[in-house]
């Protein structure tokens, strides 16, 4: 086997340029596959992360009727008990209890439908980092009747920091309630849609506007460990059966499906790349076999078994692939690690990315296991690519191959 390996290795370098081209193309193909996958996976992961960070959170708790009718009367019954419980749980990193109501926000230049969130500014900042996402102005503080609006909504209504806006909604009795607020700050979100649809005011201002105490409609929370989301949701639901407790996967199934679909797509992409590469390898090895008809014929004539001839061609193909494959994987790993930490700045297409729900800097990412499975795929591809050329070698008739003995 050692000698066969030695012959196979030396055979590869008989035509250095050709072998290097094949190795380079395998390396480049695998690298491109890993990078494209890392980029797509990173994009999707970032979209999910930003959606969780800025709007969904890990878990949301509502009244059981909320999902059917998200209106003002479907408040959480006795939210103090739930809040007291959550505040003692070590799993919980941050939480925010919100009053939510659908309404209209208007300026002299126009109006738009929004969801008005009555929040505790400190908790909200802790949960969603809303204070850090201000593009202009100040965060909600002690001053009354201040409002935060999204950048897209500000542009639509031509509202700036300090502009006066009027919010209008109906209470549980159908009475129209309006209030004037001053824009304290303009925030940014991962998507244009989010910037247009949500405005924030202080919970106390909301209570004052409506004139009577209102319970929260939503409690959103983040956990320290994202892997504990489903277990914690189940625990919470079991303890508080009269609430609807939903994980982010239930709240935005499209995000969680996107993860699963992305994983399948990653393998399909790498599979297509490998298929294309395998044609190159088959072609090269076939050329190598046909060029060496005489030599292979001689080997069979002098007593080299067909099994050994087959193994030799198989080894040559494997070596070629195993030179290029790991190099491609290594290059892919380096690229993903580097760009994953530094990010890829795509400010030129920031608008498009924002409408997709991600920021302008993408952080490619790939699970470690993907590198291993790519390595295995390279070996499988190499073996499959070797079969046809090796079989062609076996079909050589020593007499025809060397013409005469």
């Amino acid at each position: 086997m050692t000698t066969l390996l030695k012959i196979a290795w030396r055979n590869i370098w008989r035509n250095q340029l050709r072998s290097l081209v094949v190795i380079f193309s395998i390396m480049l193909g695998i690298w491109a596959g890993i990078f494209i996958n890392g980029f797509s996976y990173g994009l999707n992961r970032q979209r999910t992360k930003e959606a969780i960070q800025t709007s969904l959170s890990h878990i949301q708790v509502h009244d059981t009727a909320w999902n059917r009718e998200p209106n003002i009367q479907n408040q959480l019954p006795q939210p103090e008990k739930l809040l007291a419980f959550l505040e003692t749980r070590p799993e919980v990193r941050a939480l925010s209890a919100r009053i939510l109501v659908n309404g209209i926000v208007a300026t002299a230049n126009g109006n738009g439908g929004v969801q008005i969130s009555g929040i505790n500014p400190e908790n909200e900042a802790h949960l969603t980092g809303l204070d850090a996402r201000l593009a202009q102005g100040d965060y909600l503080g002690e001053k009354k009747n201040k409002i935060l609006i999204g950048r897209a909504l500000g542009e639509k209504l031509k509202a700036r920091v300090g502009s006066k806006v009027v919010i209008t909604f109906t209470d549980k009795n159908g009475l129209i309630i309006s209030g004037a607020f001053k824009v304290a700050g303009i925030y940014t979100a991962s998507s244009t849609q989010a910037e247009e649809l949500r405005v924030y005011i202080r919970k106390a201002d909301f209570q004052q506007l409506i004139g009577h105490p209102v319970h929260e409609h939503e409690i959103a929370l983040l956990l320290h460990k994202p892997v504990e989301v489903l277990a914690f949701r189940d625990k919470l639901q079991a303890r508080f059966p009269y609430y609807e407790v939903q994980s982010w996967q239930q709240l935005a199934p499209e995000l969680s499906y996107a993860d699963e679909i992305m994983e399948s797509i990653l393998y399909i992409i790498i599979g297509i790349i490998m298929l294309a590469l395998s044609f190159g390898i088959v072609n090269t090895m076939l050329m190598a076999v046909l060029e060496r008809r005489k030599e292979l014929g001689m080997l069979m004539a002098v007593g080299m078994s067909k099994r050994k001839v087959f193994s030799m061609i198989l080894l040559e193909t494997l070596i070629l692939s195993l030179c290029g494959g790991p190099l491609g994987i290594l290059l892919g790993f380096i690229t993903i690690t580097y760009t994953g930490s530094k990010g890829i700045d795509l400010s030129v297409v920031a608008g498009g990315l924002q409408s997709f729900g991600v920021g302008s800097v993408i952080y490619p990412y790939i699970d470690t296991v993907f590198y291993f499975s790519t390595g295995i795929l390279v070996i499988v591809m190499a073996l499959l690519s070797a079969l046809y050329p090796a079989q062609r070698a076996l079909k050589l008739n020593p007499v025809e191959a060397i013409r005469t003995i």
Binding site: G303, M304, T404
Partner: protein, 229 residues
């Protein structure tokens, strides 16, 4: 004892509607230690005869016995193994493995025979010294002259300790000096080690050195002449 024995050997090819009897009923015995040349014009059937004797082709009918073993019935795999153990080949175009050194080329056959490393090394060195290439052990074929390559091929043919060596036009690509050297080496091995050599050749220099000359024409033996030396 006959090393090679053929009985009523026939090899018929079908070329369209035409039937070609390349070998047409040849009975032949070649004894151990012979230095035999098979000669004949192109298309006479000498190459087909050599292919049949070497187990590279199967007869349409008749028998081929090598060292009393009937090889015409062997399966492809058994035939490959039989060739490895019993027959040494020297080809017109040398056909060495270009990526191996001279010593490795000679060792390779023994490796296929699963001989141990020490024996392989010792015998390859011994054989290459015997063909005058003791100082070229580590050279690859590309670094050797045609004559030297053919001498490596002879050493390789002998490495497996075959029953006989078949050489097809071994001197066709060599100059006079290299031809003379090669024939001297083969004649010495024949004399000293009693190795049987069978040549297929047009080369008068080879024919002149042979002790038996078999002339083949139209697939049949036309003459069989043994010379005293």
């Amino acid at each position: 004892m006959a090393v090679i024995e053929t009985r009523h050997l026939q090899r018929i090819y079908q070329d369209g509607n035409q039937t070609i009897k390349a070998v047409n009923g040849i009975d032949l015995e070649i004894e151990e230690g012979e230095f035999t040349a098979i000669v004949g014009p192109s298309g006479s059937g000498k190459t087909t005869l050599l292919n049949l004797i070497g187990g590279l082709d199967k007869p349409t009918s008749g028998e081929v016995r090598i060292a009393e073993t009937p090889i015409h019935d062997l399966s492809d795999n058994d035939m490959i193994n039989f060739r490895l153990q019993h027959i040494g080949f020297v080809f017109q175009a040398y056909n060495l493995i270009p990526v191996l050194t001279a010593a490795e080329n000679v060792e390779f056959i023994m490796l296929l025979q699963k001989r141990d490393k020490a024996e392989r090394k010792q015998r390859s060195q011994q054989l290459l010294e015997a063909v005058g290439l003791g100082d070229r052990l580590t050279k690859r074929p590309g670094e050797l002259s045609g004559g030297q390559q053919q001498r490596v091929a002879v050493a390789r043919a002998l490495a497996s300790r075959p029953s006989f060596v078949l050489a097809d036009e071994p001197t066709a690509n060599l100059d006079s000096q290299s031809t003379a050297n090669l024939l001297d080496i083969m004649a010495r091995l024949n004399k000293e080690e009693h190795m049987t050599f069978v040549f297929a050749t047009h080369d008068q220099r080879v024919i002149d050195r042979a002790r038996r000359v078999i002339t083949v024409e139209d697939g049949k033996i036309k003459s069989d002449e043994t010379r005293d030396r």
